[in-house]
Symmetry: C2
Amino acid sequence: MPKCIQNSLSDQVYTMLKDQILSGQLKGGMKIPEESLAEQFGVSRTPIREAIRRLAEYGLVTIKPRSHATVSVITEQEANDIARVRVTLEQLAIDSIDETSYSRNVKELSRYAADCQYAMGIGDRATVFEQDSLFHLALVRSSGNSALISICERLDAKIQQLRIAQNLPEDELSYYLGQHAQMMTLLKNGDKEACKRLLYEHITHDLTSHVGSLDA
Amino acid sequence: MPKCIQNSLSDQVYTMLKDQILSGQLKGGMKIPEESLAEQFGVSRTPIREAIRRLAEYGLVTIKPRSHATVSVITEQEANDIARVRVTLEQLAIDSIDETSYSRNVKELSRYAADCQYAMGIGDRATVFEQDSLFHLALVRSSGNSALISICERLDAKIQQLRIAQNLPEDELSYYLGQHAQMMTLLKNGDKEACKRLLYEHITHDLTSHVGSLDA
DNA sequence: GTATTGTGTACTGTATACAATATAGATATC
DNA sequence: GATATCTATATTGTATACAGTACACAATAC
């Protein structure tokens, strides 16, 4: 269910392409010529170009000048690098949260955590990942730091791509999702240090072991 | 002196517009209609559009749908937020640097530090800021973390805008520039903690006091 | 059989043309 | 005189057309 905020064709195409990439419909390494996409979406090349270029800024596609754009592939090294940065950024978010901003967001956070668990229960992985993203973004938003928020929102697409590529087994995924609620408890109790340690485990857990076959 | 890596018109326009914004020639809040830019640069609207959209991704211009794009203005809050994130990211870079990667980059770093000081001596503020940026980016690159590097490179444009807006008095600027060499000494001695503390001061020094008159 | 060059095709990069919408100014109304 | 509404214009959003380049395949030379 693609959610198009703007109604310009560029934005619609952008959202749909992003969804197709993150859902794995468009796999890493695949060529995406502008003309065939234009045909597929029933629009001209102009909005396609703008969408592709935006996706390139987010690292989801790679543009080779005067040649095709391709869907980006994530390497193991890149996955580790992103995780490391992510931990650092979200730990900063935790440090920046004060009680009032937390209480303002606690309801939203717990809803995402719950929805995530529920989706896990019925085996709906797509929703699990979506709600997981929303939880972490809401956490970052609670920091109130606009620069931090925009960086994390930008990084989110890559993280989603990573989550899917990681392909964690059910039991592990379920275990790590439970940490959302734990983190909230720690935050409520004001124990930021413990929360940051848990976040570290939450994000960097046996990261490298499951990555692979992105361009199957 | 704009340095155009790619030779496509889009890239050239992008670089030139960026330079004009960072040099203050295009001031915050100014409208930038596509057509007049196209005339000014002697190209069609297409490459102009792509450049503007790219600048928007970097936060240097703000696009209001179906209306003019304007040069973004930095608020005091935003400046603080960016500084906070920047400290965190560059501290992560310092943590990630190992001896081999440092020794590979030490020459480059000291050159930037020296050039920065020299430019300060002859009162060439534009070069000071340029070399300052290069120093910090080289530091981040030494980390070898691709995700971190790309985030910092992306943030760099905003930081440059900020540096100019800050408009630090000569003596203070000169003082803080001296810290580049100090940080390198600490790194060489392996005292990362001290280096990170110094970096914190280096970046967050009386930040809010000088910001203002961006759209003079 | 392999390497090299030539040619055609397909795709991108850019320009131009048209459609749709927002802004500003003028007119009308209270 | 102030406010609201209408109209004209300017500017964006999108489509299309053309030019130039890169890639793939074939033909030739070694």
